[in-house]
Symmetry: C2
């Protein structure tokens, strides 16, 4: 039974079928509301057959439900019923958790998504824990996301941003007692070398994560 | 088969048998080395019969082994073989993780131990994740432990320390997307009211945690 995997990013929404190769994109942005997102996705996938949907959203999710509005999208997400709108069984997960789930290869893995915001999740065998490390204080009354997200990159410039990435990755890996760190998100390409103990993420892994969401061997908490 | 549970704190080492009621104490402190600890424990428990030992230590543990020296004890812990010294099968776990394991009642529980240092662990059904949140930066170039540990309490005074506890608990609970926070450690008694969403820990739960360490239904990572 094919699953439609919907990866809601800050700049665009990426779509793929669990048994397909083709990736389609529709626009996202700071004003994107969930009804608009579903309309665009339905229009872009009218010729695709699927019976389940996995949606990765850039906001805090608990037990399959958003518990706060995504910081970098428009409003109305908290109260919106995505399953009702898609009309098929739908699982909602934090976007970083979805890519983290697809990226796991072993051990205690910390995933950090360097995008518009800063996604985070911890994965061990059979379990994904969504985290919201982004909004913790880091330096000079700014948060990790203020430093490592896109606004941080713009403010700091590439050189200082890279130095901040190295420092934050080391601190958060130690805090989570992680065996490995996977760095994903669109801005990971702006790192020419990776900090020690890191593996480069791949956005494609989000689609594997979306498929694994329906695998009974995995829990997402 | 009785288990000896050894809870190594910053001020004393607490001992109890998994099937007993009596708690015994031997001294700890910033100069405590592991060989001394084992000698004191063996002397204090010479009349107790046990065939396994669980040891909770205030330092970062991965896969049953310390990966760094405990910050608030003496040296020599990293290289020391506790199992060899006790002469029976021995499991080593972070002290906060041990109390957290015994404190879990459901959901996604964050444990914070307000003691000499600041212990932390995350527990979900069947799994304990040791954390080391203590050494992350918090405010004014000081870490969470600098603010919430005993030195923070002494520096800030009770009133400002309590305000810091409320703020840090809210921030860390959000960052971990926790359902519940359990506040343990010796200094929790200095809080007259608990922050919202918090439950008071009980040091006795560390002994339950030490027994659960040998239960195959639980993994500690």
């Amino acid at each position: 039974m094919p699953i439609l995997v919907v990866d809601v990013g800050g700049n665009n929404v990426k779509l793929r079928l669990s048994d397909g190769e083709e990736v389609r994109r529709v626009p996202s942005g700071p004003h994107l509301r969930p009804g608009t997102m579903v309309e665009r996705v339905r229009a872009a996938t009218a010729d695709w057959a699927f019976e389940r949907v996995s949606v990765g959203v850039p906001g805090p999710v608990k037990n399959g439900r958003l518990v706060d509005e995504p910081a970098n999208l428009g409003g109305g997400w908290l109260a919106f019923d995505l399953e009702h709108a898609f009309g098929v069984p739908t699982r909602v997960v934090n976007d970083a958790a979805m890519q983290a789930l697809g990226s796991w290869e072993g051990g205690k893995m910390l995933f950090l998504g360097l995008g518009t915001g800063l996604g985070s999740a911890l994965v061990v065998e059979g379990l994904v824990l969504s985290l919201e490390l982004a909004h913790l204080p880091y330096r000079r009354k700014r948060t990790y996301e203020d430093w490592l997200g896109t606004r941080g990159l713009e403010r700091l410039g590439k050189k200082r941003w890279r130095a901040a990435v190295v420092d934050v990755v080391a601190k958060l890996a130690a805090a989570m007692v992680a065996d490995e760190v996977v760095l994903g998100g669109g801005n990971v390409r702006k790192l020419d070398t990776l900090p020690a103990g890191c593996r480069r993420g791949d956005n494609e892994r989000a689609f594997l994560g979306g498929a694994r969401l329906w695998d009974s061997g995995w829990r997402v908490l």
